[in-house]
Symmetry: C2
């Protein structure tokens, strides 16, 4: 079997305020999204696996300080970084994830090492950090992950909490995430997600990214999904597995299942979105807020990038 | 609405070897299962909530050193305890979980505190331990959790690994868990799960217990589920949410969905089982191994306890 390869990625979703978005900043986002998509798409074009493509795409997003994963990760309320990442293969639903780590330059490689070298699925905290050191992953200094923008966000959020000023509703600052889904020419799907979590989160808090069935899922029978948004609500609705289940058990299309689920969680405070690809290469990029940083390959193989809902 | 209350619990599943089960030990298990069920059932009979009933039942199992949760939890490869617990309300799918804690006498109360006092769903490791201290939960000395039987299991497992002797197949020693599901007279469902994990697990390893949709789920529209078994496989198959989805999307009965899913994961190495109750009070207790420590109330309100498959 030889399938047209397809790749989609997100760099977070939320109320992305247009008044804070300069032309220069917007151009930088589009360039970062395109570069990350190209990193993965080059692998797919050369006959590489979906698993390698989502890994490469997420690595690129982790290295880009514009996005909340790896370099540019947000800070906890303690002023530290705690990163989560997950990866899943649609071939056999093999999967691996880490939560609460700070050390590996590319948290997605830590997730992949869990999948490929342990009998476990999820490693957290100090045990995960020790595993990463022993696995020989490239580590980076804390200064690599630190950015003045995220530090300012933490300080603003802590000041807001201290003074009791209501939230300004810029969700994207609170819960960005990056992720990718791919279909390779062999017909296999994969998904990967990586995040620094929420600005000023309680240390130890884990969102939906490393929770399979919530923020990440891949199954060759149905689809690959990577979500971004208010993680707790995504967990309570098992968002990724719910889409898989509606396709498999109710015969729904990817578009219907993905759009419906993302719409249904909005009234529960589940702001966010997701990127999804089905086994036939259809792409769905639903979100229920004003924007989602995203990029995807169209049926013509061309790369598209977008931020707001009026840009598709 | 006033519904006949129903409660079911498990204390772990696996290849429970009859040759190691003395009459005295068997009687102690049955007594422990019955006492835990009575603790929760008394709450339901008095008009209490399913949430309070599963909490009380799991607390009793956590206090009983026969079961792998709280007192009697297994050891990690470091010789420490790392406990996970989760609780979920079927009313609104509110949920809370902790992973990798050692401190609170009753990990299920830590999970409940996450659900009721934070905006988060899952707290892990040092952050979770700090939260437990600040939440004012009753803490116990490490010696409270320690039992000579679990220490001997760790030593046997480490010796087995060092010498390369094949595993003897007694899964119950490796991955016990406790859990409960309940339907209260108000028609609400709840589920709770608590575990010490796997003997000699890698520090930081998290199984399916605190992963909503895998080891724990509750939704008044369908069912409440608490699972026990090879957690990694349960995560890869989203076992609890899959049963919910088959009932909701494919119109299956609880019995059909629960038995099918438990049977389907067996070939993937997913040994284990689960306890489940649907919104009408039907109980399903499927397992794909030789035994599951379990107790439940029948349609007559009487308490039943069982270990092997030939005891229902």
């Amino acid at each position: 079997m030889s399938t047209m390869p397809v790749l989609a990625l997100h760099g977070g979703a939320g109320t992305i305020r247009r008044d804070l978005m300069t032309a220069e900043r917007k151009a930088a986002y589009h360039a970062g999204l395109r570069a990350a998509l190209e990193a993965g798409h080059a692998i797919l074009r050369d006959g590489g696996t979906a698993l390698d493509a989502v890994t490469a795409t997420v690595m690129a997003l982790e290295d880009d300080p514009l996005f909340n994963a790896g370099r540019g990760a947000v800070y906890t309320s303690d002023g530290t970084h705690e990163m989560d990442a997950a990866i899943m293969s649609g071939t056999d639903r093999a999967c691996g994830a880490v939560a609460g780590i700070c050390g590996p330059r590319h948290p997605v490689l830590a997730a992949r090492a869990v999948m490929e070298t342990t009998g476990h699925v999820l490693l957290t905290g100090e045990g995960a950090r020790r595993f990463c050191r022993e696995a020989g992953l490239e580590h980076a200094d804390p200064s690599w992950f630190a950015t003045p923008e995220r530090r300012a966000s933490l300080e603003a959020e802590m000041a807001r909490r201290a003074s009791g000023i209501p939230d300004d509703g810029d969700d994207a600052r609170r819960h960005g995430t990056v992720g990718a889904v791919a279909l390779d020419i062999h017909g296999h799907l994969a998904a990967a997600t990586s995040t620094g979590g929420m600005t000023a989160k309680k240390p130890g808090r884990v969102g939906d990214s490393p929770i399979f069935g919530a923020g990440t899922w891949a199954d060759d029978r149905t689809c690959a999904i990577s979500a971004t948004g208010h993680g707790e609500i995504f967990i309570r609705h098992a968002v990724a597995h719910e889409i898989d289940a509606r396709m498999r058990l109710a015969g729904q299309s990817l578009a219907t299942a993905a759009h419906d689920v993302v719409a249904e969680i909005a009234p529960f405070g589940g702001s966010g979105g997701l990127v999804a690809i089905d086994a036939k290469g259809n792409v769905a990029l639903p979100f229920n807020c004003s924007g989602m940083y995203r990029a995807w390959t169209g049926p013509d193989g061309r790369i598209h990038t977008a931020i707001y809902s009026d840009e598709d």
